[in-house]
């Protein structure tokens, strides 16, 4: 049997075509633009599984180790699938001194997950993120693009509940 990592057939072929088009359109030194390619791939696929990383390595004529080294170096890239709702708790200093760690603990408890691991129901990925620069609203939590500011620990329950109730969050 073929090595699983070398099996590109499990990847969404229509998305791969889009990725190919992006890579073909790159100007200048392509290998140098690996990080941009990874950004684009993650936008398309939501995360970067190993076979996708290897696919990109082939496309740019780089070693798989090089690509994986870059993917794992930068916190922006996910190697694991992410939930429908990405709950990001800002851990910048301003938020931290206003109790962001307690907000995070509560969210983890409510969603029954660990940091950066998708919840079993596929709904949530909870992350602690670097300063998102909205210090005036500290502590801040974002659910996908929506920003919740000036949070108290008890406010968290309603936010998670509203996601669970499948109310549209955008």
């Amino acid at each position: 049997m073929k090595n699983k990592i070398l099996d590109f057939s499990t990847l969404d072929q229509s998305l791969l075509k889009k990725l190919d088009a992006y890579i073909d359109a790159l100007e200048g030194d392509r290998q140098e633009q690996l990080i941009h390619v990874l950004h684009h791939a993650q936008k398309l696929f939501t995360y970067l599984p190993h076979n996708l990383q290897l696919y990109i390595a082939h496309a740019l004529d780089l070693s798989g180790a090089h690509v994986n080294g870059v993917v794992t170096f930068y916190s922006f890239f996910n190697e694991e699938p992410v939930g429908k709702y990405t709950v990001s708790v800002c851990m910048g200093t301003a938020c931290f001194v206003k109790g962001a760690d307690k907000v995070l603990d509560r969210i983890l408890k409510l969603t029954n997950t660990k940091k950066n691991v998708m919840s079993e129901d596929g709904l949530f990925t909870v992350k602690d993120v670097r300063c998102i620069g909205a210090c005036g609203l500290a502590p801040v939590v974002t659910v996908n693009e929506k920003v919740y500011g000036n949070l108290k620990v008890k406010d968290v329950d309603a936010i998670i509940e509203s996601c669970r109730g499948d109310e549209h969050v955008d």
Partner: protein, 607 residues
């Protein structure tokens, strides 16, 4: 319009609409912070009303960058009336439009009220928050629409570049910047003019100007606000720098998290290209210059210039040893000058007003102004720009308005994870590079985090170390393993599992990491720990000797059994019946302090 020379720039400027051409200008902040509070919706509503009433010719709606007063956002400023409305909600927009824009009546209830004063402030420039500020780097932020190049041109945009190309040799430009005394605003404080001089001196037909917009310091948002609010000033400055050092290529390295800033820079670059302000033979000279944006992907160490260059080349962002400095061998092995966003933002003002003007601002060795991101336990959270030499007390109390609930401010963290704390005995220290070094702190990139009496300094130090050890790139051992070990010791301490000799270990380890690490990240990583240990030894000892309580405690004598504390406790760890003495279950308490705030009789003791 294609700009071919200084004359055509001036002609274009004359033809553009100015604020004075309108009866009234409505400036709405569209920075990240205000947008998250629905500023974009407010702008759309105003647009709708203006169209509906057909008054676009007399009302000038400007979607601006950050006003700096983020804690009070969304903000609407009205000129020439000098009125600022704060915390505007979607529901308020109709009233502002009907009352102020149509009938010239101020909506008093939306004005900013100074703390401890009953009357609201009518004129915006009289607000305490703005009184002591001097805006040089932020001169256009909150004044112009960053997505319209004409707004920048009206405010003398690209005039500095035109003058450099028209009247000055590259060496003269370097000389002006050198004489102005401008120093790197990213934290290093190295003379910008000298950096340019060194890069200019290396002979090579391929050189690079690099703008470092990888603002990784948690709690700092100066560079983001400038990129969002005045992107053209960065582009113009980079072109000036390119001319000065002989580089035809510019690169902006920006964090992937800064979506809006990246978008605005992209728009600005395209506009500049359309008008011939980037590209071949600028202003009819032999000088050509263009800019490319390179995205980061979330790595704090990439703020270090050699790591930043590696990342731009598509590698893991690991730093290299210096020398050789980037001025000799940088991006693609070519001479490169890496300068910070705020540094660049100062350049056009220096060229137009002269180096003497800039040198007259600030203190003897630290010229000009500095932008700080003021955050934490302070009333007016936001972006402030003050002349160098302003004291911390002025920034935190006069501009910042002190603690929101009047609590005592215990310390200020300056310089983020690389810096240290400043305790209240030193609040009268003038903010300049030398004075801060004298008290064992550093300027850093501009993060100022205010911490009140309730803050646990060991937890703060642990927070910063968690950050640096997580962000350590792993290339050199002292930083990779050392910060991890320090973090483990702090974790042990805060879990009440530590012992007195841990404190000694922390200090020895900290000093070793400082001296043995390869780059700035490791060399400064122990600072928050060493500095808090120096000033707040007793807090460390409480952990080391295990004398610290971790839960809140109810003083039975003062408790009246009102149940208020039990009702607000988020983890339901307070027991007791009505009119009976309540008790906190220590093992369940998360020390959130909700009960402390709720108690009407001050019966609750802090841990």
């Amino acid at each position: 319009m294609l700009i071919k020379d200084l004359k055509s720039l001036e002609k274009w400027k004359k033809s553009l609409p100015k604020k004075s051409d309108f009866r009234i200008s409505v400036l709405v902040c569209a920075g990240t912070s205000c947008i998250s509070s629905e500023a974009d919706l407010i702008i759309a509503m105003l647009e709708g009303y203006i169209k509906e009433h057909n008054i676009a010719a007399e009302v000038n709606l400007v979607k601006t960058g950050c006003f700096g007063f983020c804690g009070q956002g969304p903000i609407i400023k009205i000129e020439p009336d000098d009125i600022t409305y704060v915390k505007v909600k979607v529901d308020d927009v109709e009233e502002i439009f009907n009352e102020h824009l149509l009938n010239n009546n101020t909506v008093k209830r939306l004005l900013y009220k100074e703390p401890f004063e009953s009357e609201a402030t009518e004129d915006a420039s009289g607000m305490q928050f703005y009184k002591k500020q001097l805006r040089v780097a932020l001169r256009n932020c909150g004044e112009i629409n960053p997505e319209i190049i004409g707004d920048y041109i009206v405010n003398d945009g690209y005039l500095a570049l035109a003058k450099c190309l028209d009247e000055k040799t590259p060496a003269e430009v370097v000389e002006i910047v050198k004489n102005s005394g401008l120093r790197g605003r990213g934290g290093g404080g190295f003379s910008t003019g000298l950096k340019w001089q060194y890069t200019a001196a290396v002979k090579d037909d391929e050189k690079y100007i690099i703008c470092n917009a990888d603002e990784g310091d948690p709690g700092a948002f100066m560079d983001r606000s400038i990129c969002e609010g005045d992107p053209h000033s960065i582009i113009e400055s980079m072109a000036i720098a390119g001319y000065a050092i002989g580089a035809e290529n510019g690169l902006i390295y920006i964090r992937a998290e800064y979506g809006l800033a990246t978008e605005r820079l992209r728009i600005a670059i395209n506009q500049a290209r359309e008008h011939g302000l980037l590209g071949k033979n600028l202003f009819g000279s032999d000088f050509s210059f263009d800019i490319e944006i390179k995205l980061g992907a979330g790595a704090f160490v990439c703020g270090e210039e050699t790591a930043l260059i590696r990342s731009m080349e598509g590698y893991r962002g690991e730093p290299d040893k210096k020398p050789p400095f980037p001025s000799e061998s940088g991006y693609r092995g070519k001479p490169s000058s890496v300068n910070n966003v705020e540094t660049f933002a100062n350049i056009p003002a220096i060229i137009l007003n002269g180096s003497e003007w800039f040198a007259s601002l600030g203190t003897e060795k630290s010229n000009g102004t500095k932008v700080f991101a003021l955050a934490g336990h302070v009333r007016n959270i936001g972006l402030v720009e003050v002349p160098m030499g302003t004291t911390l007390r002025e920034i935190v109390y006069d501009i910042g308005g002190g603690h929101p609930e009047g609590k005592e401010i215990k310390a200020i963290q300056i310089g983020g994870p690389s810096g240290g704390v400043i305790v209240k005995e030193y609040f009268d220290t003038p903010v300049d590079y030398e004075s801060l070094l004298e008290i064992g702190a550093m300027m850093g990139s501009g993060g100022l985090i205010v911490m009140d009496e309730d803050t646990d300094m060991v937890e703060v130090a642990k927070f910063y170390l968690d950050f640096t050890q997580d962000e350590s790139c792993g290339k050199c051992t002292p930083c990779r393993i050392g910060t991890k070990r320090m973090y483990e010791i702090l974790e042990r301490l805060t879990n009440m599992e530590g012992e007195p000799k841990d404190l000694e270990k922390l200090e020895v380890l900290g000093n070793n990491i400082k001296h043995a690490s390869l780059c700035g990240l490791g060399q400064t990583a122990p600072n928050p720990v060493l500095s808090t240990m120096h000033f707040f030894k007793e807090e460390y000892e409480a952990y080391a000797y295990r004398t610290k309580r971790t839960a809140y405690l109810i003083e039975p004598k003062k408790c009246i059994g009102c149940t208020k504390c039990a009702r607000v406790c988020p983890v339901n760890c307070i027991e007791g019946k009505v009119r009976e003495i309540h008790k906190i279950i220590e093992s369940d308490c998360i020390a959130c302090g909700a009960c402390f705030t709720a108690c009407p009789t001050n019966a609750i003791l802090k841990p």
